[in-house]
């Protein structure tokens, strides 16, 4: 009797209310009595959906790099710009901080996300027992930074809207921008489909009902938890 699932309980994903799963009381799938959200002890088909979106993301990343994300026309000379090319231009302009931001958002983050989500999925499928906490942190990081890759698409959109100066200079978006946008969306869907609770299923280390720790700055997992008055919680 430790996790909600093991106790026959399920927490609402939207409002957090705990509901007891019982056969006679609920339709399938059961719904939260407070906010009517659908309740699943674990997200259905989590691993399969997450793999499917991830593969779609990797596939979309190929045209994102092959096709130009935008075309720059200066005094009639049109030039295609790819994702990696944009980084080199900024680097040559000596705008190092922005060059690094662009490189991280458009190359490092997507590739790391592919690797991280694949690793998490494989670790769940193989039933890894080690480093559950670190894998949860990796999952959080993936979830948090994934959407920031959209910055590249927005930069292209803003440049295309702003740089429309007659015969002097023009910027137009390319097919690569759409492909890159799809990469970001697909990998976000992949992370959303992945149920992090699966990382912890089968964990045998903790006692029955636990009391939460506090944010006082030194809340750590394990048994070193203290209430605000200094009394140990666990």
């Amino acid at each position: 009797m430790r996790t909600a699932a093991e106790c026959g309980l399920v927490a609402c994903p939207a409002c957090g209310t705990i509901t007891r799963l019982s056969v006679e009381r609920f339709e399938v799938p059961p719904k939260c009595q407070l906010c009517f959200a659908r309740l699943h002890s674990r997200k259905p088909m989590s691993i399969q959906k997450s793999w499917a979106w991830l593969v779609a993301g990797v596939l979309a990343y190929i045209p994102a790099n092959v096709y130009p994300i935008m075309y720059t026309t200066v005094f009639g000379n049109s030039e295609p710009n790819t994702i990696v090319g944009g980084f080199f231009v900024l680097w040559e302009m000596k705008s190092y901080p922005i060059a690094i931001v662009v490189f991280v958002a458009s190359v490092v983050v997507p590739v790391l996300k592919f690797v991280a989500v694949s690793y998490l999925l494989i670790s769940i499928q193989r039933g890894f027992k080690h480093s559950r906490y670190d894998r949860t942190r990796l999952f959080r990081l993936t979830e948090f930074i994934g959407r920031w890759s959209m910055i590249d698409v927005f930069v292209v959109a803003i440049l295309a809207a702003l740089v429309q100066i007659g015969s002097v200079a023009q910027i137009a978006p390319g097919l690569g921008a759409t492909a890159f946008g799809l990469t970001v969306i697909f990998t976000m869907l992949s992370a959303l489909a992945l149920d992090s609770r699966l990382i912890w299923d089968g964990d045998q280390d903790l006692a029955s009902v636990n009391r939460p720790g506090h944010i006082s700055g030194h809340a750590k997992r394990g048994n070193n938890l203290y209430a605000n008055d200094g009394t140990p919680l666990a």
Binding site: I151, V155, A157, L159, A160, A169, D205, V209
Partner: protein, 236 residues
């Protein structure tokens, strides 16, 4: 707030099996949304956040939930949204020629060059989803202020939760800064009124959504639901 209750495996099982006490026991429990570990709710001081023992995810907070403040900030954010979309966002001038754009121009720029799929998606991420979230929050909070509840509150609430990763105003703002730096070397760029309004909007929207945590919000909505039933009963 619920106090710490000493409980063992036995006492919990007993209480949960005892029909009438089921709901009170369940409301005293919280499950970690990231690892599913059950915790007993304990009282924490105002401003503190309880965290999961096992994976350190945030479980619940004890903040001073003020509907009035959340409504005020939410309304301010909505006004800023209108302002941010009514003036030029950025202006560029190169050798006598100048050009300005508003926030939505970025969407049109994508659609005019055939990237219409991306244009539709960006319209959602930058304008539609953030707007729906702000309006949705006010749809719940304004009636709650009068201890009422409009139809579809549940749907609106779930919509706000569902849309949160897809609302990307802050990313657009940083995108504008990157674009500025890219152009700064070759053109003269000016920030329009919209830019500042949009920056302020980002702060306000973030603050208004964080003023009330989801669970306290539902406690308030449940109370208003009970309040709705009693006057109707008196009429009959």
């Amino acid at each position: 707030m619920l106090g710490a209750r000493p409980s063992s495996d036995d006492s919990m099982t007993r209480r949960v099996n005892d029909g009438d006490l089921v709901e009170s026991v369940l409301s005293n429990l919280v499950a970690c949304h990231e690892c599913d570990l059950l915790h007993e709710k304990v009282a924490i001081e105002i401003g503190a956040e309880a965290r999961c023992m096992r994976c350190n995810a945030g479980l619940y907070t004890n903040q001073q939930n003020s509907i009035d403040r959340a409504v005020a900030v939410g309304l301010a954010a909505l006004i800023m949204f209108v302002v941010a979309n009514s003036f030029p966002f950025l202006q560029i001038s190169v050798s006598g020629n100048s050009q300005s754009m508003s926030i939505i121009s970025a969407v049109f720029a994508l659609s005019s060059e055939g990237q219409w799929l991306l244009a539709v998606v960006c319209f959602g991420f930058i304008l539609l989803f953030p707007l729906l979230r702000m309006v949705g929050l006010l749809y719940i909070l304004l009636p709650l202020r009068l201890h009422r509840r409009l139809p579809g509150t549940e749907l609106v609430f779930r919509g706000i939760v569902f849309l949160s990763p897809w609302s990307m105003m802050e990313i657009y703002l940083f995108g504008a800064i990157v674009a500025l730096v890219k152009l700064a070397a070759m053109a003269n760029i000016e920030l329009g009124h919209s830019f500042w309004a949009f920056a302020l909007l980002n702060v306000l929207a973030a603050v208004s959504l964080q003023m009330i945590d989801n669970h306290s919000l539902w406690e308030l909505i449940s109370e208003s639901r009970e309040g709705e039933e009693s006057p109707a009963g008196e009429l009959v």
